[in-house]
């Protein structure tokens, strides 16, 4: 196997006494689409900033293209495109001006940047907004512009910190489509998210993070296979009765989870289990059989849901 593009060992970041990232190890290979899945506060953004060479680690080692971000910061950042969690577009400038000046920050010649801008405007579907001040763009447009901006230097590695948080479903799908195209072009993607569907859609491999630590690692399919059953039966009895029903149902399958609003039963055959439940004279208000997802993996690993 070739050398990893990015490699971290025992990576730790403390803010005062608080440990935000707690000794994590991972390797990202060329062309990977690598995910960090975890709830708010898991330490994903902190880890991304360290990889992006804009934050100093407390201990452990990080190597990006064989270099240490604390020593070769500018050289490493020349390889990266960064889409931070919080947009930091230049509000005083227009769409094209944002793309232009960002290319210039990399030291690129004016002519090179001007040619690149046209391609990026098309990619981000912002041709008609080219002279609009950034302030006037919608959230989805700002996000697309931030991604386009990150591509102005033709990076081999694109770091995306929660690329679709706060966007409506349509804007999310447009963004996912753009990211797929980049992946097809061989760009290595690092994506953090607290949406399990996003992780399933975009990532070949991911780590599940919670409270600064890695809970599990693998492809979405293998994580689901290792940590969950094929199917999940979701039952609702009404909020006051979920608890008492749960006590009587727990013995009917290997694993169950009680959430405030519903009761989850893990099984390989949801329909069969549901029939057994009706046969035993239980009458849930609603029932749903679905395939296991990364949400279930997270629940299994931490006892909590991804989005509280």
């Amino acid at each position: 196997m070739s050398n990893p593009l990015i490699s971290a060992r025992g990576l730790t970041k403390k803010f005062g006494d608080f440990t935000a990232v707690n000794g994590i190890d991972f390797d990202v290979f060329k062309g990977d689409s690598f995910g960090f899945l975890g709830p708010n506060g898991a330490g994903k953004s902190t880890a991304m900033r360290i990889i992006g060479a804009t934050s100093q680690r407390t201990s452990g080692s990080v190597s990006i293209l064989g270099k240490d971000p604390e020593i070769n910061g500018p050289q490493i950042r020349a390889h990266l495109g960064v889409v931070p969690q919080q947009d930091n577009l230049d509000m005083q400038l227009s769409v094209v001006e944002n793309l232009y000046i960002y290319g210039r920050y990399f030291g690129l010649p004016r002519k090179f940047v001007k040619n690149k801008i046209e391609e990026l405007l098309t990619f981000a579907q912002l041709e008609e907004k080219r002279d609009t001040k950034v302030e006037a763009l919608s959230g989805g447009m700002k996000r697309r512009l931030t991604i386009a901006r990150a591509l102005v230097s033709e990076p081999e590695i694109l770091i995306l910190d929660e690329p679709t948080t706060g966007l409506d479903p349509q804007a999310r799908h447009i963004l996912w489509d753009r990211l797929f195209r980049l992946k097809e072009q061989g760009v290595t993607l690092l994506i953090t998210t607290h949406f399990m569907d996003e992780a399933e859609q975009l990532c070949d491999r991911l780590i599940v993070m919670d409270k600064g630590s890695i809970m599990a690692e693998g492809s979405p399919a293998s994580l689901i296979k290792d940590y969950s059953t094929k199917e999940v039966l979701e039952l609702r009895f009404g909020s006051d009765r979920n608890q008492s029903m749960a006590d009587s149902l727990r013995s009917m399958c290997d694993r169950t989870e009680e959430l405030p609003d519903r009761f989850l039963m893990y099984t390989d055959d949801g329909e069969a289990l549901l029939e057994k439940i009706y046969a035993a004279d239980f009458h849930p208000k609603t029932s749903l059989v679905r395939r296991s997802s990364l949400e279930d993996v997270f629940l299994r690993l931490t006892g909590r849901t991804l989005i509280e």
Binding site: G73, R77, A78, L89, L93, G107, P155
Partner: protein, 275 residues
């Protein structure tokens, strides 16, 4: 193998002095300043110029009516010619302080513009020098504009007065580099207000509107520990043609300020930009 141009550019700097924090991108940051300036609110730009002019009109021609000529060190000069250089020095200070404190703090914590800049192959020292450089360009422009008002009013008595422009830039440099250093320690806008609490008495007591000699010796000594009185002496000496070695001393004060400010700013860059 395909090597992106951005990578080739960054790699070409390998081994150069300060390569961890500096990539030689100050011109690009000034370019940003000009692009943003083109579309900025002209009122803010204009007010930076108007403030000293309004002081000049109200104090110079108001008090100047009651007190047309004052005597300084045995020499009689027009009151308005006495205060005009002080206003030039003060406006150089105010502009540089605003750019390096409020402006930097806002871009850092509110707009997060620096976070975007530092995700590129630039370093924090590029950003700091770019901001200071931009403050100097503005200071230079304001000084030229104010001189253009002073000259036709006959307020620049000596040809040495032309040197007041570079002097104003030197003063702006000193205040900008120290302002940036101070900002690196500030955690909130409230703390930044402390800067203003410090500036106002300095402005009122540094000899803008009357000679320092009205104060007792001990107070003059204290006032001279602070930078603004040196700025005023320097610009006033040049405009009035009072050329002596003391002027070099006043200029030297600002050279020291620039050096100390830059040392602290550079030291604090990581705290400022790279948490």
């Amino acid at each position: 193998m395909f090597i992106p141009m951005a990578v080739a550019i960054a790699d070409a700097r390998a081994g150069k002095r300060g390569e961890r924090v500096y990539s030689g991108r100050v011109p690009q940051l000034l370019e940003r300043g000009f692009i943003a300036f083109k579309s900025s609110t002209y009122m803010i730009v204009l007010s930076g110029f108007l403030e000293p002019v309004l002081y000049l009109l109200s104090f110079g021609y108001g008090i100047g009516k009651l007190l047309p000529i004052i005597s300084v060190d045995g020499e009689n000069i027009k009151y308005v010619a006495f205060i005009a250089p002080a206003l030039l020095a003060t406006s150089a200070m105010n502009g540089a302080i605003y750019d390096s404190t409020m402006n930097v703090f806002f871009k850092l914590n509110h707009d997060r513009i620096y976070h975007g800049m530092l995700a590129t192959s630039m370093g924090p020292l590029d950003v700091a020098l770019g901001e200071i450089g931009w403050a100097l360009i503005r200071g230079f422009a304001y000084a030229c504009a104010f001189m253009a008002v002073m000259a036709p009013l006959g307020l620049i008595i000596s040809p040495w007065g032309l040197l007041a422009i570079p002097a104003a830039v030197l003063i702006a440099f000193g205040f900008a580099s120290c302002g940036m250093a101070v900002t690196s320690y500030m955690k909130s806008f409230q703390q930044l207000e402390l800067v203003n609490i410090f500036l106002l008495p300095m402005f009122l007591f540094s000899g803008s509107f009357y000679p320092l000699s009205v104060f007792p010796q001990w107070l003059q000594f204290i006032i001279n520990l602070f930078p603004l009185s040196h700025a005023i002496h320097l610009v006033r000496g040049l405009c009035l043609g009072h050329i002596d070695f003391a002027l070099l001393g006043h200029a030297f004060y600002f050279v020291v300020m620039i050096i100390i400010g830059l040392i602290f700013t550079t030291k604090r860059l990581n705290a400022l930009f790279m948490k």
